[in-house]
Amino acid sequence: MWQKIGAYISKNRRFIPLAATALLALVAYGVGAIFYPGMRDLQVFLNIFRNNTYLLIISIGMTFVILSGGIDLSVSGVMALVTISAAALIRDGWNPWLVILLMVLMGMGIGAVMGCFVAYMKVQPFIATLAGMWFARGMCFFISDDVIAIDHPVYTLLGRTKILIPGLTELAQARGEAAPFITIPVVVSILLLLVAIYIAHFTRFGRTVYAIGGNEQSARLMGLPVNTTKVLIYTFSGFCSGLGGIALSIFVLSGHGLYAKGFEMDAIASVVMGGTMLTGGSGYVFGTIFGVLILGITQTLIQFNGSLSSWWTKIVIGLLTLMFIGVQSVLVAQKKGRRKEGQAAAQNKRRWAYAGAALVLGVIAMIVIPKIGASQGLSLTPEANRCQLQPYRQEQAAGLIAGGAIIAYERNGGPNCVDELYAIYPDGRIVGDNGLTTTEKQVTVAEVEILLGGINEYGWFTDDLYDTWHTPCWQCYGYYLTVSYDGQEKTVKGVDGGTDAPADYWQVISLVKGIVPQFTTVP
């Protein structure tokens, strides 16, 4: 049986990098699901797509560029330029649909100009697109050096429309969860991926791209339209950057010149992890989605863990890239080996590289797994430290508000399994109750006013802040916050450790956290 598998593998060797990526994505998610029950939530899985739509879109364009043997550093700059231009135009009353069209055209224009430089002026892709990046990022600040918020029903519609997935809805209902959903940009990115796969593998253009990446000289000699194709490749990458910028602006509902910093490297890493060779001419567009997934899952794991700092993402991604490149270089060595060197030498090289890849994986495991375990892992979290969220004390909170409080804030769960309910009154009195004891603190009226102003500033009473819930990990907190201000009253619930709650919700929570007193006794 092993022989059969071996024969099958050696027959389909070119799929190895793709299979390795897909397998790794699966394993990474599996490990996460074992350690953090919250990650088993279907919505959390779909959120990986939702949070990385723009990365997927730009990575698709980048795949084509890399397949042709080039590189496009300008994507992040173009994305930033698109977000801020779109925000500025919409602020000035332009029709959002027109703006989206214009932005995509602008991305294509910038891409086409860079493509011309690369194809006709023989400028190194690295330099030409670097200039493009600087140009685009610099232009952002001619428009505005501040964040411009986008407040338009069309954008909200695009960002907030929930698309339920038939089949998953029933599955979630059976598990007693809310129906998981994706958003319109996710659908667009998946459609783009399908179109890109078609273009790459079933059209003349796609074959020319592979031919250029394989050997530009022979592509030219074969009479293929190398220059035109190159211009088109960079135009397509520009198109993807434009679309990615729109997706980003829909996601954050604002535009700024510093957005998307370093995204070009994330995109390149995703493409490489997706099994595309940076030398060009070999790889699959389909693999890119797994590269993006690995990046997204790594981020989600680190978020769920809570104790790992964000820089671990960088280290893990760096190591993973190293591993994939190792596997790729083996494949190249094997290809050459079969032609030139003896079978034994090729086998020897293969062994070395597999050992190297295993070593890298081992190092990652050694670094990450103890960290995961130490904080809140399944096997290592003592039984006593596991905390189930208590039901929110909704009636009690409503009672506090009715009793004159302007803010009712409940924090539930966490490593010490607390259930604290605070009430903040307009006169600056703060009363906390954790079921065992109460605590009190007096702040000035002005401080309360600042707090309320801040909460309002973050858009508390707008649709930007909404309830979210996912199965909490055993050390996560659940929050329940009611604010009554200017005759308006609104309650928003959320659980930390996930990626679903709006970012502004955590800003508000941290504002409130900063003002309430600490309990000295822990239940």
């Binding site: 330099i127 670097l130 700092s309 820089w311 993402t313």
Partner: protein, 358 residues
């Protein structure tokens, strides 16, 4: 006969690697001379020189240091994207050695109170510099190992350290921006002995690199590896060791640049030190006329290339162009410079020169 001679000299001048970068630099300086009054004024204070020209050189010193190492790497046909991250790593190592209290290292209590003293350091300065440079060289060796021995494409091999390096730098300092109080260390980036002290460092590194490449056969080997590694292999040059040396030296230069940069801002800012400087360094080398595909190189023109970049920046600031707009202008200038270098422009120049003589 006379005509022939003048033709040769004209060609010699235009085809010298120094010609284009110097032309660009002088064009920028000419622009400054006309539009910015007082740009060339140099003042003396306490025997030290100050002025816009000195500023250009001082601010260019990190990019110049990086460009020296990058020139050798690019000459072998490679590229090193990780120099910015290596700068961050070396800054973190240096800071942690001088001020380890931040990450909760237990110090004897009698030493604790000296921690913020400008004359106190946990490790002596020579040790700090030595260890930092060793760490940076190891980073370079790692890149070289991947490129030369594992045969990974240079851009990818160094991309790994570029992505992971900043994470490692933050790991070293545990994510804290460490303040550096030690005064002698600050001298590296902020000191003046008539000219800024960092310029002497640049001169020293340049001299070392120049002697290494022009007074020994190494320079020739590097050019031969970059031109055609296969034929240099057959002529008995150990191509792998040459590449390893180039990347290690590039790491070493990045380490020094990291020391200069961190002493300049007196912190180890793992997120911002050397941010996007790898692009500046590569650009400096390209402006200096070394081809990205490898081959013949000129260290001096790379230094001029770095000065060109900084001269653009400084003149734009002097003109009152806001900082944010600078990047767009830089992008346009890059395109102009590259167009100036393109085959079309060169052939045009050649045509012009032949017309002149005809």
């Amino acid at each position: 006969m006379k005509q022939m001679k003048s033709k040769i000299t004209w060609r010699k001048i235009t085809e010298s690697k120094l010609f284009f970068p110097l032309l660009t630099l002088s064009l920028i300086l000419l622009f400054d001379l006309i539009f910015i009054p007082g740009f060339f004024k140099v003042q003396t204070r306490d025997g030290n020189l100050y002025g816009s020209l000195i500023d250009i050189m001082r601010n260019a010193s990190t990019v110049m240091l990086l460009a020296i190492g990058m020139t050798l790497v690019i000459a072998t046909g490679g590229v090193d994207l990780s120099v910015g991250a290596v700068m961050a790593i070396s800054a973190s190592v240096a800071a942690i050695m001088m001020n380890p209290v931040i990450i909760g290292l237990e110090l004897p209590p009698d030493l604790m109170k000296f921690m913020n003293d400008p004359n106190f350091t946990y490790s002596p300065l020579w040790e700090v510099i030595l260890v930092t440079l060793i760490v940076a060289t190891i980073c370079g060796l790692w890149n070289g190992l991947l490129v030369a021995y594992v045969k990974i494409q240079p851009m990818v091999a160094t991309l790994i350290l570029m992505i992971a390096g900043r994470g490692i730098a933050q790991l070293i300092t545990n994510g804290v921006r460490i303040q550096i109080f030690y005064k002698p260390y600050a001298f590296i980036g902020q000191g003046w002995i008539v000219l800024p002290f960092s310029l002497y460092i640049v001169a020293f590194v340049f001299l070392v690199a120049w002697i290494l490449t022009r007074k020994t056969a190494i320079g020739l080997f590097i050019e031969s590896v970059g031109t055609n590694f296969r034929s240099s292999f057959f002529s008995g040059i150990d191509e792998k060791k040459i590449k390893l040396l180039a990347y290690a030296f590039c790491g070493f230069c990045a380490g020094i640049a990291g020391l200069v940069a961190s002493s300049n801002i007196k912190t180890s800012d793992a997120n911002n030190i050397g941010d996007a400087l790898e692009l500046d360094a590569i650009l400096a080398v390209v402006i200096g006329g070394t081809l990205m595909s490898g081959g013949r190189f000129s260290l001096l023109s790379s230094l001029v290339g770095a000065l060109v970049i900084q001269a653009i920046t400084t003149s734009m600031y002097a003109l009152g162009v806001p900082a944010f707009a600078l990047q767009a202008i830089k992008g346009v200038v890059v395109i102009l410079v590259i167009l100036l270098y393109s085959e079309q422009a060169r052939s045009l120049l050649r045509k012009l020169s032949t017309q002149k003589e005809a």
